[in-house]
Symmetry: C2
Subunit: 483 residues, 2 copies
């Protein structure tokens, strides 16, 4: 099949680059969900949109799965190859086709790096708001596929709120132009549907992103708290006061120590939690909000408040936050990052419960996350050389996600389902919703060749796993091992 498919792809006009030897394919065997690896039959690398429908059709005619890959920075395994499938690598489609300052839009190819969009918009006083930690390397196409967030999504929204049009090719190779550069579009909102569909409904080849004006002023501060609970309560007070920070991040002692050891930023040595808060907008309003913010933080028991005095200090603060996962990896080589969302009011309770659960499992958990969004990222540390430790970390992670569902949250804020969270989808949703997902998938990809086995579990698998739906209720899950 491999050589037959390679020949068929060679007849696409113009032919895409095709890699089909093991050595060339090795770098593509996983994405940032490194727990799982697979080599595809081959990789097809188009230079332009014109090649995409031909690639899809060649695969479809042969019943060969197509897995689309952006920069491979996804951490739920959405771009892990299918062993019997083609990997469609969008890395070479990286042209910024236009920037329209009046319309505040840019049209880009999927392989364009996230940060490159803001760089291209900067001369017009504009930027592209969603900023995942991986923004210097991750691609816009991948961002759309995963509906990526970032530290500034509290104020500016997710990817889906920051794009206005898409071009995609469905599982039959048909072109779909969705959304509009003008406001709104008629018909069902297939653009929003395609966004976050994890490569299951179409291959995205062109994206019109919204750009927003660079704020006149930005102020950033770091507040130290004696406990995670005190920091979490401060988050509620800030939001309750009507302040909408551009970012509102939390780090606990374990993460602070790791950052300190790795980057030596001179972070406060006492306290159990830090809040990193940024406010942006017009000069006067920022000053006003910043003053109110300080007063709230003090009232909530902050031990120390440090404001960045200039752009350099501000960049240092963000370096710590954006480098936190790398810092953790340096100190604790094996860890498993959970991505769940909860209503903000549950923040302190859920963090406490996570710590208590970790003790029960004999594991340690560090926290660095989007507190303002209620998007938690507990990092569970384990030792891969200890038999059973990985499984224990996964079981603990599953318990944490159950708690997220129980309090009215979700099993993923911004990392996607991929292959990592298929089981949790059965907990998040009831059978009719899972069935609706499959029916929608069928509408775009009748043969199911696009990224099969990712993002949405089959109802059969859910049944095998024990029909685990819970929502705001008690969770009896004997099939998940408890240690």
């Amino acid at each position: 099949m491999r050589s037959e498919l390679a020949r068929a792809l060679a007849s696409v006009v113009p032919p895409p680059t095709v890699l089909d030897d093991e050595e060339s394919l090795r770098p593509f065997e996983t994405d940032a969900f490194i727990m799982r690896r697979a080599l595809p039959l081959l990789a097809a690398i188009p230079d332009s949109e014109a090649q995409v429908p031909g690639i899809i059709r060649a695969c479809r005619e042969r019943g060969v799965p197509v897995v689309t890959r952006g920069a491979g920075t996804g951490i739920s395994g959405g771009a892990i190859p299918h062993e019997q499938g083609a990997l469609l690598v969008m890395a070479r489609m990286r042209n910024i086709l236009s920037v329209d300052a009046l319309a505040r839009t840019a049209v880009v190819e999927p392989g364009v790096r996230n940060l490159a969009v803001s760089e291209a918009a900067a001369p017009h006083g504009l930027f592209y708001a969603p900023d995942p930690s991986s923004q210097s390397v991750c691609s816009i196409g991948g961002n759309v596929a995963e509906n990526s967030g970032g530290v500034h999504c509290l104020k500016y929204g997710f990817t889906t709120q920051n794009i206005c049009a898409l071009r995609a090719y469905d599982g039959t190779g048909e072109r779909l132009d969705l959304g509009s550069e003008a406001l709104d579009a008629p018909g069902y909102d297939l653009m929003a549907l395609m966004t976050g569909s994890e490569g299951n409904l179409g291959v995205i080849t062109r994206i019109t992103v919204r750009l927003v004006p660079l704020p006149e002023a930005t102020e950033t501060l770091l507040a130290t708290f004696p406990s995670v609970r005190a920091a979490a309560e401060a988050v509620g007070e800030i939001i309750g006061a009507g302040i909408i920070p551009a970012a509102l991040e939390m780090m606990d002692r374990i993460v602070i120590d790791a950052c300190e050891q790795f980057m030596g930023l001179g972070f406060p040595k006492d306290g159990e939690a830090l809040l990193l808060v940024e406010v942006d907008g017009g000069r006067e309003d920022v000053d006003d909000a910043f003053a109110r913010l300080r007063s709230i933080l003090e009232t909530c028991g902050a031990i120390e408040i440090r404001a960045a005095n200039d752009e350099r200090e501000r960049a240092e603060l963000w370096r710590a936050r954006k480098g936190a996962f790398t810092a953790l990896a340096n100190i604790h080589p094996d860890y498993y990052t959970i991505d769940g969302t909860i209503p903000r009011r549950c923040l302190a309770d859920v963090l406490d419960r996570t710590v208590a659960l970790a003790k029960e499992y004999g594991l340690v958990v560090g926290n660095v996350f989007h507190a303002g969004d209620g998007n938690i990222h507990p990092c569970i540390f384990y030792d891969a050389s200890v038999p059973g430790d990985l499984e224990k970390s996964e079981a603990l992670g599953a318990r944490v996600l159950e708690i997220c569902i129980e309090v009215g949250g979700t099993i993923t804020g911004e990392h996607g389902v991929g292959i990592e969270k298929l089981r949790q989808m059965c907990q998040q949703f009831r059978a009719p919703e899972i069935a609706a997902f499959h029916a929608v998938k069928h509408a775009f990809d009748p043969e199911g060749i696009l990224n099969p086995g990712k993002a949405v579990p089959t109802l059969k698998r859910c049944a095998e796993w024990g029909g685990m739906h819970v929502r705001s209720g008690a969770i009896p899950h004997p099939e998940i091992p408890r240690f």
Copy 2:
């Protein structure tokens, strides 16, 4: 069928109110698209969500279409009854179930009036942003079904950006819980898909809306311009300067005169166009933006600028804008309002072309619209007593929408497709997109009982109309009569 279905509905627990005599049904024969009327078989009026799946199933078992109706204020005919169908009237499901100030959300039933949500949120310093002109009477369920906009959507977004969770029942009566009160939700974004689907994919029974903080300060002004073109150019300058007004509306002389005659507000007597601009936010930033705004308006040739001095004057200005359509109806009893979107940069050109086209057709057009959004609403005046005049106005409207598509815009900004714009859907979209809409519809409503014949035309109808897709190109449409 009528009496048999009425008996079946009587066995729903608890039974909904059923109206099946002509006199009772007469008030429901049309919505605000009064050009078309039809009496349904019967109307079913549930008091609670529990009755909804039973009503859908009773209809489905008999192959009876279900048309859902909110307040009936839609102006594209989406809620016009089906002669062989049941009308599902949501007017009695009007409980505000909860308001959560910390989460900034409210959970409401579909029959709740738009304005009632903001009234309930006001004690918490919050409001619900989307504000259609009909906000004092239209319902949230209808707003979701149509993805309604309003004068403040320029800054705050459409309905789809202002809700976070939905409960709906699909065409088989299955309950779907979509979205999440926490940030983001996994799986395909069926909540966004349901929003704006015009009653075709499900019956919405519960909506969690987002609330936003009431702004500290609001300033509103009226600027008079010597020409529509000058006003349109000022719109571009305002946006280009990085100001994001809360509202940016335009009215031309014809509409100003009608408002003046109807409401006697003492509007400027000279000038050909007015801009109504509102800025909100923190006190200092509003003052700063307002000063910049005045300076831009002066530079762009404003003849007169009047700022509202207090809340009463501000309310007067908005009374004119929100009452404009009523004022027009008072002066020109017969008119046809077009709803199209265009990129802002095309505003002046498209308005000029509309005036020129109207002359060609021997008709007069007035303009009152969301200029900042590029959402135009030309009102075409005709005389229903003159044979052929209505048809001329419809033909002119169709030409205007073609121009919207040609310049990269869309055939509807906020009023929906309903039955009014089925033909234009064939122009906006190519066959693969229309086919994708139908495939998605099938996923939720396999028998096609939900609002059949609305929102999306069949490919067959598009073919009969001449396969009229145009996008950014010339439009040869011999089948639309030209006068």
